[in-house]
């Protein structure tokens, strides 16, 4: 299984007494674009957030690019890795959030530069160059000096994507990145993601945009009550769902 970029096995996660991930097994190869769909509360976002340790998890393992993420087995049992080590592992992935989460006191280019300077220890000039290159890639070169408050939601999300991508991650995680956007701004963000997919970027997306999942993904996984209910080629899955649950979910979501 060495050609696996991401390998999740037996992933279990509790919020207090509630088990939200009940043993998730999943793997993906480099260059794959995988969409995670499912109703709210099914655990899709939680699963995504376990991969970069924004959520702790209580059981199972996550391996990314050959590394075991977050925890190590010691003689005295399972132990959380050091903060320094976890920070380094988090930089293996990039994440875009539903709420963009740009740093409001920094301009667009400074948002992208921060990780390059503080994590990659680049000089400011080199970091600025790379940041500007990525802002150009998302079509916002001329907005580099603008602050988040001066940008539309779609533009903020594109800056946020540039900020994540500029770190040169092995895997990009997208957490419902269009859910907080006005409908007319969704397209520009999806286009950016499509372009990245065409470049061969490995991506894992939690999304409610069924049409988009259908068009972009090489594979779709359907999360249901904390486990993977069904997965496969979107063309096959969407047109001929195997389970009652998925059929119902597709009917109630906007996919036509």
């Amino acid at each position: 299984m060495s050609d696996c970029l991401l390998e999740i096995s037996g992933l279990r996660k509790f919020f207090g007494p509630v088990e939200v991930l009940k043993g998730v097994d999943f793997s993906m190869r480099e260059g794959e674009v995988v969409s995670i769909i499912g109703s709210s509360g099914s655990g899709k976002t939680t699963m995504l957030r376990c991969i970069n340790m924004l959520e702790e998890f209580q059981g199972g393992t996550i391996r990314l690019d050959g590394e075991t993420i977050g925890y190590e087995e010691t003689a005295s049992g399972r132990k959380r890795k050091s903060e320094t080590e976890i920070a380094r592992q988090r930089a293996l992935t990039g994440m875009a959030f539903q709420q963009f989460n740009l740093f409001p006191h920094m301009s667009a280019v400074e948002n992208v530069m921060l990780g390059l300077v503080k994590v990659k220890k680049m000089g400011r000039e080199e970091a600025r160059e790379i940041a500007l290159k990525w802002l150009e890639r998302v079509g916002l070169a001329e907005r580099a000096g603008h602050y988040p408050g001066q940008l539309s939601g779609g533009q903020q999300q594109r800056v946020a994507i540039a900020r994540a991508i500029a770190m040169n991650p092995k895997l990009m995680l997208f957490d419902e990145v269009t859910s907080a956007l006005d409908p007319e701004l969704v397209g520009e963000v999806l286009q950016v993601i499509k372009d990245l997919a065409a470049d061969g970027m490995s991506m894992l997306l939690v999304t409610h945009e069924m049409r988009f999942a259908y068009e972009v993904s090489s594979r779709v996984i359907f999360m249901n009550q904390g486990v993977i209910g069904e997965q496969g080629d979107p063309k096959v899955m969407f047109n001929a769902p195997q389970s009652e649950r998925l059929a119902e979910f597709l009917k109630t979501s906007s996919f036509v």
Binding site: M53, G94, L114, V119
Partner: protein
């Protein structure tokens, strides 16, 4: 009333008043500076999930906020030497004012911290920043913007509180005014001028803080 205002005695001693005012400002600024450090550390303690950080922070804030500042000043200056801690008048007063302001600033900073959306810290973590880097690059700069209005009123309160140093004969503005009052008997004139100096200085402080606030306000 039969009282004729005559300011000449006050003007003759005006240099002493100005020296007192300068000392008052220094006391307030130094106390604020130390208080900010204390307040910041305490604020992070107050929002910590770790009880060993949170409980001492909460105890400090509760005790100090329930003590009149004059009692603190007298305690530090008269009682502490009996317990072997001997400080000069000025050092003792600055330390007291700093500890006093730290407790109030801790509450101010705590409010400023919890109003920062948690998603920003997560975004920082996601690009690989360490928690300490997130505090210095993201949380604290945003928190300072949140608390600037409260910080400016704290500075003004502290400046006014420096008048209490007269109680332990620190030669600040109020102490100097009382001296002129006693030496020249120009009671009304002395306190009019001293009051004028307090009001004018507070106005200048408030205006400068507004300029800083405006410069740091985020574009929306």
């Amino acid at each position: 009333m039969g009282y004729t205002l005559n300011f000449s005695a006050v003007w003759r001693n005006f240099d002493d008043l100005l020296a007192g005012l300068l000392l008052s400002l220094e006391l307030a600024f130094v106390a604020l500076l130390i208080g900010c450090v204390l307040g910041l550390v305490t604020a992070f303690g107050l929002i910590s999930r770790n009880g060993w950080a949170r409980r001492p922070a909460a105890l400090y804030v509760t005790v100090i906020r329930n003590l009149p500042i004059l009692v603190l000043i007298l305690f530090a200056y008269f009682a502490l030497p009996q317990m072997g801690i001997r400080l000069g008048k000025i050092e003792s007063f600055v330390a007291t004012l700093a500890i006093y302001s730290g407790a109030y600033l801790a509450e101010v900073f705590r409010a400023g911290l919890i109003s920062i959306p948690p998603g920003l810290s997560e975004a920082g973590l996601a690009i690989g920043l360490k928690p300490r880097q997130i505090r210095t690059s993201i949380i604290i700069p945003l928190m300072i913007r949140n608390v600037l209005p409260s910080l400016s009123s704290t500075l003004i309160s502290l400046f006014k509180d420096t008048s209490l140093a007269a109680a332990i004969a620190v030669p600040e503005l109020t102490f100097e005014a009382r001296k002129i009052n006693v030496e020249t008997f120009r009671v009304v004139e002395t306190w009019i001028v001293a009051s004028g100096l307090y009001v004018a200085t507070c106005s200048v402080l408030a205006a400068s803080m507004r300029v800083i606030e405006r410069r740091l306000t985020l574009a929306r």
